[in-house]
Point group: C2
Chain length 321, copies 2
């Protein structure tokens, strides 16, 4: 990634239906790594491989400067797929939602009130099918999605344990985010033993953000009819040769369901999600930890940092306030 400076005219091309955006907050998300490789997966809106020498694209919060689409007007705040630049010209179809509630931090629409928020909501409630008393394990638990899954689990009356990669994150999980227990996976030489310590009776829901060795250890510690919403496998994205998962046989006797999902399939739940979540945020019953990088020039390091666990909480890049 490199920074390119230049001059543009802030004007919508004549008879364009596009929307000219001033970018405010950009979201650093693990899936962006996969767009930097040849991607032979299915067509998902905004999910094709990046074109070298073009700006990165990703989720962001932006303000409409000029609009060729009557649904948006100057001054509207929106979140959706934009580019890593100060101003972007995007098709209006890339806007996911207009922002209606501004009594909460705008940056939240890259996280708790945006894509990672619905991801946690859909993955935990729709795919995880949680019920009171369930034992829930979350990996990458202090991340953009994980910290919400843990709080949703507590709201549901579950016992929830998170794993993360530093003492600071583990402390955060227990002191601020309400997890019952948390551990640093880097300090556990035997993940299976760690899980047996925290889940002597086994796991009902494993919200998987990392895949690989953690998933393999979880497979040894599942309860009957366990559910695994498969949200991400960040441990594998930078590997040329993916780690082999060897304990899948446990799926059968334990009658386990693993289900991969992509948040765009659940955007229709957004209004219901906001209705559920906004009061909890306003009342301080759900909190959210963000890691803010100031300035577009600090974006590349912030993005790369996700893959070594540099960020504490949701990684955001501020382009403008």
């Amino acid at each position: 990634m490199y920074l390119v400076e230049g001059t543009i005219t802030l004007k919508l091309p004549e008879s364009s239906n596009d929307v000219l955006l001033k970018n405010l907050y950009l979201s650093c998300d693990p899936y962006m790594r996969n767009r930097m490789s040849k991607f032979d997966g299915p067509e998902i809106e905004g999910f094709h491989a990046y074109t070298p020498a073009s700006p990165l694209a990703g989720i962001g919060v932006a303000k409409v400067v000029e609009s060729g689409n009557p649904d948006y007007k100057e001054g509207d705040l929106v979140w959706g797929i934009t580019k890593w630049e100060e101003y972007s010209l995007v098709p209006s179809t890339q806007i996911v939602f207009k922002i209606e509630h501004t009594d909460v931090p705008l940056s939240y629409y890259t996280g708790i009130l945006g894509m990672p928020g619905i991801t946690a909501y859909a993955g935990f409630f729709e795919i995880g099918s949680p019920k009171k008393g369930d034992n829930v394990f979350v990996s990458a638990a202090s991340g953009a999605v994980g910290q919400l899954v843990g709080q949703f689990a507590k709201l549901t009356g579950c016992y929830v344990v998170g794993s993360a990669g530093s003492k600071e994150k583990v402390d955060l999980l227990k002191s601020k985010l309400g997890f019952d227990e948390a551990f640093n996976y880097k300090e556990e030489s035997d993940l299976d033993a760690a899980l047996k310590r925290y889940f002597p009776e086994g796991i009902d829901i494993y919200f998987d953000n990392v895949g690989g060795k953690t998933l393999d250890a979880v497979l040894l510690n599942l309860k009957v009819h366990a559910r695994i919403p498969s949200c991400g496998m960040i441990s594998q994205y930078n590997l040329t040769q993916h780690e082999g998962v060897t304990n899948l046989l446990n799926l059968i006797y334990k009658r386990v369901r693993i289900e991969g999902f992509v948040v765009t399939d659940y955007y229709h739940l957004y209004p219901k999600f906001l209705e559920f979540l906004l009061p909890h945020i306003r009342e301080g019953k759900i909190v959210y930890v963000e890691d803010i990088a100031e300035g577009l020039e600090n974006g590349p390091a912030a993005l790369v940092g996700l893959f070594s666990g540099h960020n504490v909480g949701k990684q955001v890049v501020i382009v403008a306030r």
Copy 2:
């Protein structure tokens, strides 16, 4: 396994509630291998580890000789969990169903009309959620379960391809069992390429009987929203070190569901299943291939043969006709 001869008195112990059975047909099933190792899975009726120096237990068809339970009487034909011996004394709870229809071969109650039959039915229809036009792949396709899955898929209007381990089996799949295509996985050096040949547009349902390398190749060839009923992983049962599955990342972008299941959870469907299947059998619209070993003394070799693919079709051991 070894053969033990002895003399018993064919008489129910006084005030016993058990049932004395004359065993007729015994079923050779892959899951029995797992009962020969330390099994730390959940308690499933009739599924604990075998006790060395005791008779093997498994599914069988038997005739009631004497009954301490009023639900069964002398002469009743039943199928359920019995032992690998000429006569067995079993708790009546081990009987799964009384056999009501005897215009079909009795041995069928170890296969198409018994446990493998409901396995295929529940796995394909309940977990696979098939619809007309789906592309279906079945491994171990000429086996007790696979040959039925293929025929159920054809009845549903699906395109179905099976893999098996010999030319004889591949021919059987295409000529007798109605599969659209079939291939010998032992002759394919690149399973991914083989699947791309038969499924240029990808797979909607993979009915997994084998796990391991085949599952890994399938993961590279799934359509969006594919389903994988995980029925068995016979390729792994004799391995000390299980093969690693490396392509699970595909579950996410393709939004795939893998669901393990155990047939005992679906026995309540048995009456509905019989009502569906019996007319098809009587009209010759569904056929079933059995591999018969004659005599209890040939049982051990028949059972071991499953794991090298020696059997062609459902492996049955005849104890008595």
